[in-house]
Amino acid sequence: MPDLSTNYLGLKLRSPLVASSSPLCKSLDNLCRMEDAGASAIVLHSLFEEQINLEAFELDRWLEPNEGFAEAQSYLPDLTAYNIGPEGYVEHIARAKKSVRIPVIGSLNGVSSGGWIRYARLIEQAGADALELNIYYLPTNPSMSSAQVEMMHTELVEEVRGSIHIPVAVKLGPYFSATPNMMVKLDRAGADALVLFNRFYQPDFDLENLEVVPNLALSNSSELPMRLHWVAILYGQIQADMAITGGVHTAEDVVKAMMAGARVAMMTSALLRHGIDYLAEVRAKLVEWLDAHEYESVSEMQGSMSRRSVADPEAFERANYMRVLSSYV
């Protein structure tokens, strides 16, 4: 039996299989099933500051008396308490910690500096083993430079890092002008891990009704190579751990992630598509693969095919791009 254990965010994990942030994580029952199926850690669904604000503003708007008509000065009873803030999420972390033995990682998507810090502290206080900052930022303002965007990211990581004591992972998208440089900056800003990459749910068009419609497609293994590419390039150049998320669907995908240099491989779409028990299948096949290929542990393969470990680093570089193009017939 090969040793599947790995280290991520300073946590000793029993395998590299991490159940990533998804609506499945809202149920304690599901968390237990993830643990039983072999997940070594769980990243909870994200706490969205924006959603909290929107819900609060909406509730406030409709509970605030209209007071324009003598007979109906309000239309809804204003109750004594609402679970409108982060309390529900915080309670969920606490309950999750009691329900499973594997590490529980909180996930946070903020919109304001104050919000990021306030909610990060609450997640820490609730007992989360680590915090993943889910930076889902889409720069739409053309006057905003890449330097400003990058600074915003690094400052955010510094502020949160300085506010809490649990490990901090940073999950972010692939769209940076100088990805390695950006990752190094985040590493220096105090990120304990980089989670590569967030998937931006790009909207689609409804041609009949001429409407923009949200498009939430699950990932597949074809999305993995881009992530392998960057992890392999970054491996050894930053202190922070790396996790691959997006496109991890099979045991082979997990192996590839490890060989590129990731400490863990995160699965979301595969679980949504095949069910939580699919994790056990992937784990069994991972063991099978390792046995078949005579690997004794996961750790021995981590980074084994990173840019600095392969015989032909050009495979990761522009030369490779030209070769691929010219060979495409």
């Binding site: 819900e55 008509f69 109750l79 803030g85 001429l210």
Partner: protein, 1188 residues
């Protein structure tokens, strides 16, 4: 231990005590008492116990009659029980009140006293309702102020337990029920100390129990009934002493001493006024003021009105009294005098005191009662022969009952800060002022009082807040007329209201202005400039909307204007005031989320930098004046009677100006240009496909379409738009879609309904919203021109097509309904299709308020002068009311035909036969019949026979009439259900339109039996635990009733077809129309989309049940919806009424969601099975107009 000081209104004070000392509370909403029930329901749902440690059981009944029945039963079974009500509600309790009193059952009914609907409905306060129950055997105890409400609510209960006489504890609707004042809250210890548990046990011991069975409610015969009725006498005789003893005990506990009759004034007064209710406070203030200036007068305030305590009354009245005026806040037409007057006259007679007494009426329907009026009454008593049966506060130029008084007389305390705030209902002004009163009342030693005046519209409504603060107790139970602070929260009001007439010399004027301190002066009307200069006002401006925009407050400027008030008024030191405001923000909004608190904090912090003093020029320079309330071309009645009401001067109208029987002309809303929309829709004639959907959904009938000959365009304004009509049969004609810019409320439903998208920029529709101000004048000219274009001959149109319906003139327009109202499009559609022959019975509720609330009303007339005729009887009897109309019309039609038959030889058989045999099933047939009847009437005018004379006034009945019975779900599902059921069973040809908002919208969102499971409403603060009643399916069980469930947003053609089928059906028809509502808690702009969701998730399956199909061998039940495609939660959680339960109680929300989804699934199976019956292929869903 000192008691807590709280700043609350009268309703909360009464409910606070009632909830603490009762076990069963049966409630039903009615203004102005509804908040007592709402508080009770909310406190019970939050688990707040009474003084015995158990949470009172609160149940909403189907009517006040039901509440009284439940109260009676609860009492008989041994509980301490109560209810709350007003006006017609109390009248519905009368039968049970006799029973409860006859059985000597202790209870207290708390009443916010209100006017009775007679010539007109009024929600406002007087004593007509309580005077209508003085004969029931209930005791009557009057509270005059908010503090008294709290105190006497307890005293009444204690007295009732001891005396066994049930009590009505009453206080003036609005003036006391809604006045916010600083009072001392009774503690639980106080309540326990006052209530003798032995008396509670005695009450329980008398209760019905099979363990010690008794029998009540016997039927008695002539031999004993009389004696038994007299057997109670000793209890009534003992009662006054019990009351005084309890009042004395209460005084020892709290220091507040009450008497059955509280006298104040000179001990040796010669002139005395006797009265009860809030007006007594204004009278006391006046008596003290005048006595301090050498007068010798007094006031006797009646607390215990029933049982009338003769002995104590005589004792309370000084021996020196030579003249008495008794003031009644009620009206008994045809009586010798009003009740209190008659009682006083009798009491004096029986006490052997021969004092001249005059009686007078005051304050009906919350009519102001001021110190000036009190002085007027005392002045009258000085005269040698004071007028009897007088009125005070109005000008009666018909029967000359009114007393003169000097309106300038004032007793205002100079140490009291008097502030007035003009705001919009939606801008948060009232809420901010309530907060300010709480801050000052609870954080300082000052006394505080707040009272709020509302207008009669539900959209764009104006509020005026009257706030007083000061070191001395405030008894001023009347509006401020001399303010030392006036705030105008909406710049546009300057054009409409002469608000500075109330400002005293040197007062402060705060204006929310888009113009800064250097520019604002030139934008003020001349009269405003004059007043500012003349009165030397200190003038400040703030651009509150800009601050609100910067800080994410949207249109709510409450916190900003409140900050300005504290900063300028100096009521508190500025820093302290800011800190207190922030504390209040935290307290009020904290539970709604930190982000809400932070947003408000930011608004406070940004305000002071934008608050500026204005340097007032020495002279006025403006060249414009206040806007005329109505244009000069308005009819005389509108000019003379309605216009003063519009401009807030209705109080000045004399008796002679008002109709004697409540009859008003229709088509008056067109004259009241409210200009409340910030943005209005603008038509793009190039993109428009002329489908008519925007016209159909417009709640206020401000988007109209006409088809006309191009020659009619002569003289059109330059910006008037026109385009070729896209009708095959009218392709030579022109088409215009026109918006009424000054009547639009800016809801945007039309834009949402537009199916067209610009191919080069999809956000553009064929109708788009634009700034109103820049378009107002030009579009107003276009609107005027449009109105003058001729209406197309109705008979040329196909009323079965939405596209054609847009051309039909709406005869319901510009109502005061909420912006984006979901009800009014249905009424408007009805008026377009059948309005020129419609007779409407309207249940009390939203539709009666926007349909019939003065000053102006929306039912209109066509160019021939025809239009809907409308009446509102009551809440509970509307179906019967409408049936009566049908019976009457049918009877007259029958008689007209009988007379016609007799007169046929003389009239000519051809005409008579044509009238007899006319096919009036289509517009054309009706139009031809009208022409025949016109000929008939001309002929009749030449005839002398009695039959001809009898036929003239009923000849119009030969033209088909359409009877519509309209109301909301509160009426149809609850209070009026018995009558509605009976009318459905009658088989008569009436059309019943239920505007189903799933809640009592008009009274502020209380649960009805239409409220869906899981929705939060008032009286269902924990989410409604039971399913919505399926009224439509119930109605189908009769078999001969046409039934349709419609939702215009989900199927406009389906709705149209249902209206046409219902009206065509010669029998009872019931249309239940989904009506999105502001009470659902989401932006009404999404109302149509949400209607689609309601249908797609199966919550609101569309169907038609047409009994006529049975004759064709078909299944009458046609299911017009497709199977649900949307989970219920995707529909309900778009609305705060559902989502708030997820926040307040997620487990309960989840459980109710699952149950509600099961309701949907079960109902759908039932409907499918019903639609599949008889093996017919009746499933022929209506085809909708295709989108572009």
């Amino acid at each position: 231990m000192p008691r807590t000081k709280v700043t609350i209104d009268g309703n909360e004070a009464a409910a606070f005590v009632a909830h603490k000392i009762n076990e069963v509370i049966a409630i039903y909403p009615i203004t102005p008492s509804s908040p007592m029930g709402e508080w009770s329901d909310q406190w019970s749902s939050e688990g707040q116990p009474n003084i015995w440690g158990t949470v009172p059981s609160v149940i909403e009944m189907q009517s006040e009659g039901g509440a009284a029945g439940a109260l009676h039963g609860a009492l008989q079974a041994g509980s301490l029980a109560t209810t709350f009500t007003s006006a017609q509600g109390l009248l519905l309790m009368i039968p049970n009140m006799y029973k409860i009193a006859g059985e000597l059952t202790p209870t207290v009914i708390h009443v916010a006293a209100r006017a009775i609907a007679a010539h007109a409905l009024s929600i406002f306060g007087d004593h007509q309702d309580v005077m209508a129950v003085r004969q029931t055997g209930f005791g009557l105890l009057a509270s005059n102020s908010v503090q008294e409400v709290m105190d006497l609510a307890l005293i009444a209960q204690v007295v009732s337990l001891e005396s066994r006489i049930p009590f009505v504890h009453f206080f003036d609707g609005f003036r006391t029920s809604h006045e916010v004042a600083k009072v001392e809250e009774l503690s639980v210890e106080d309540l326990k100390a006052m209530i003798d548990d032995d008396l509670v046990r005695a009450h329980r011991k008398r209760a019905m129990s099979p363990d010690r069975p008794v029998l009540r409610g016997t039927a008695q015969n002539p031999d004993v009934y009389f004696q038994a009725r007299e057997a109670v006498n000793s209890y009534y005789r003992a009662c006054p002493t019990v009351v005084q003893n309890v009042m004395d005990k209460f005084a020892k506990l709290t220091g507040r001493q009450y008497h059955l009759f509280d006298y104040c004034g000179a001990p040796d007064a010669k002139r005395v006024v006797i009265m009860m209710g809030s007006g007594a406070d204004a009278a006391q203030e006046t008596v003290e003021y005048l006595n301090a200036r050498g007068e010798n007068i007094g006031l006797l305030k009646v607390h215990l009105y029933r049982p009338f305590a003769l002995e104590q009354f005589a004792e309370a009245l000084p021996k020196t009294v030579e003249r008495i005026a008794v003031l009644d806040r009620t009206k008994e037409s045809g009586s010798i005098g009003e009740p209190l007057y008659l009682d006083v006259v009798t009491a004096l007679r029986e006490a052997g005191r021969d004092i001249p007494v005059v009686g007078g009426r005051y304050g009906l329907s919350s009519k102001e009662f001021t110190p000036a009026m009190v002085k007027g009454v005392f002045d009258e008593l000085k005269k040698a022969a004071p007028k009897n049966h007088f009125t005070i506060g109005i000008h009666d130029d018909v029967t000359h009952t009114s007393l003169a008084f000097d309106p300038q007389f004032s007793t205002e305390d100079p140490q009291t800060v008097r502030a007035m705030f003009y705001g919009l209902g939606a801008d948060g002004t009232v809420g901010a002022n309530k907060n300010s009163i709480k801050i000052i009342g609870e954080e300082t030693e000052n006394f505080a009082q707040g009272y709020f005046v509302y207008d009669s519209k539900k959209s764009g409504s104006v509020t005026v807040s009257h706030l007083r603060f000061g070191p001395r107790p405030i008894r001023s139970s009347y509006l401020i007329s001399r303010a030392n602070f006036v705030a105008c929260h909406q710049f546009v009001f300057l054009d409409h209201f002469d608000m500075l007439s109330s400002a005293e010399q040197g007062a402060t004027f705060l204006l929310n202005s888009p113009y800064g301190p250097d520019q604002v002066w030139e934008h003020l009307p001349r009269s405003v400039q004059d007043e500012i200069i003349k009165k030397k006002l200190k003038f400040y401006v703030v651009d509150a909307y800009e601050i609100a925009k910067q800080t994410g407050m949207g249109s709510r400027i409450n916190t900003i204007m409140q900050t300005c008030f504290f900063a300028i008024s100096g009521v508190l030191p500025r820093e302290e005031a800011i800190a207190r405001i922030k504390q209040a923000i935290k307290k009020t909004y904290g539970k709604r989320g930190e982000s809400v608190v932070q947003k408000n904090f930011a608004a406070v912090d940004h305000t002071l930098a934008h608050l500026h003093a204005v340097e007032v020029p020495a002279s006025a320079s403006s060249t414009f004046e206040l806007r005329r309330p109505v244009p000069l071309e308005a009819p005389e009645f509108v000019q003379n009677v309605l216009a003063p009401m519009i401009s807030g001067n209705g109080d000045s109208l004399p008796v002679s100006a008002l109709p004697v029987d409540g009859t008003f002309p229709t088509a008056t809303a067109q004259w009241e240009k409210r200009n409340i929309a910030l943005e209005i829709p603008v038509w793009d004639e190039k993109l428009c496909i002329q489908c008519g959907k925007c016209v159909l959904v417009c709640p206020h009938a401000v988007i109209r379409a006409k088809i006309y000959e191009s020659g009619k365009l002569t003289g059109a304004p330059e910006t008037f738009k026109t385009t070729p009509a896209r009708w095959r049969e009218f392709k030579e004609l022109k088409y215009t879609l026109q918006v009424a810019p000054e009547d639009c409320t800016g809801c945007s439903l039309c834009v949402e309904a537009c199916p067209v998208k610009d191919k080069t920029e999809v956000k553009r529709r064929a109708i788009n919203m634009h700034d109103q101000l820049s378009l107002r004048e030009s579009e107003a000219r276009n609107w005027d021109f449009f109105l003058k274009l001729p209406e197309l001959d109705r008979t040329l149109l196909s009323t079965g097509q939405v596209k054609d319906v847009q051309i039909l003139q709406p005869l319901f327009e510009f109502s005061g309904a909420c912006t984006g109202c979901g009800e009014t499009p249905y009424i408007k559609l009805m008026s377009q299709l059948f309005g020129d022959r419609a007779v409407i019975a309207n249940a009390t509720g939203c539709s009666s308020i926007y349909g019939g609330n003065l000053p102006t009303t929306p039912y209109a007339v066509n160019p021939e002068g025809r239009g809907p005729t409308w009446n509102n009887s009551l809440f509970e009897d509307n179906a019967e009311f409408g049936l009566g109309m049908r019976l009457s019309i049918d009877k007259q039609t029958e008689h007209a035909r009988e007379l016609l038959r007799k007169l046929a030889p003389e009239l000519g058989d051809e005409l008579a036969s044509a009238i007899f045999n006319a096919d009036q099933s289509k517009e054309k047939g009706i139009s031809e019949q009208r022409e025949r009847v016109a000929v008939l009437k001309k002929k009749l005018a030449q005839m002398k026979s009695p039959e001809a004379g009898a036929l003239v006034p009923i000849a119009d009945m030969l033209v088909k009439k359409s009877v519509w019975i309209i109301g909301g779900d509160g009426w149809a599902y609850d209070i009026g259900y018995g009558g509605l059921d009976h009318v459905l069973a009658s088989g008569r040809n009436v059309n019943i339109l239920v505007l189903d908002t799933e809640v009592y919208s008009n009274t502020g969102g209380q649960m009805s039996k239409s409220t869906p499971r899981g929705a939060v409403a008032k009286f269902a603060a924990g989410g409604k635990p039971t399913a919505k009643k399926d009224l439509a399916m119930l109605a189908t069980t009769y078999g001969n009733v046409y039934v349709a469930r419609v939702a215009m947003g989900a199927g406009d053609m389906h709705t149209l077809k249902a209206f046409l089928e219902a009206e065509a059906y010669d029998g009872p028809s019931l249309i239940i129309a989904y009506s999105h509502c502001i009470a659902h808690g989401y932006d009404m702009v999404h109302g149509l989309e949400q209607q689609k969701n309601a249908v797609n998730c199966g919550h609101w399956p569309l169907f038609r049940f047409n009994p006529e199909l049975v004759q064709l061998g078909k299944n009458p039940f046609v299911l017009d919806s497709k199977p649900p495609t949307l989970p219920l939660e995707k529909y309900i959680y778009n609305e705060t009424r559902y989502s708030m339960l997820r926040h307040s109680n997620p487990q309960a929300a989840q459980k109710l969601l699952e149950e509600a989804q099961a309701d949907v699934n079960t109902r759908w199976k039932l409907y499918e099975a019903r639609a599949a019956q008889n093996g017919s292929s009746a499933k022929e869903p209506v085809k909708e107009t295709p989108h572009a």
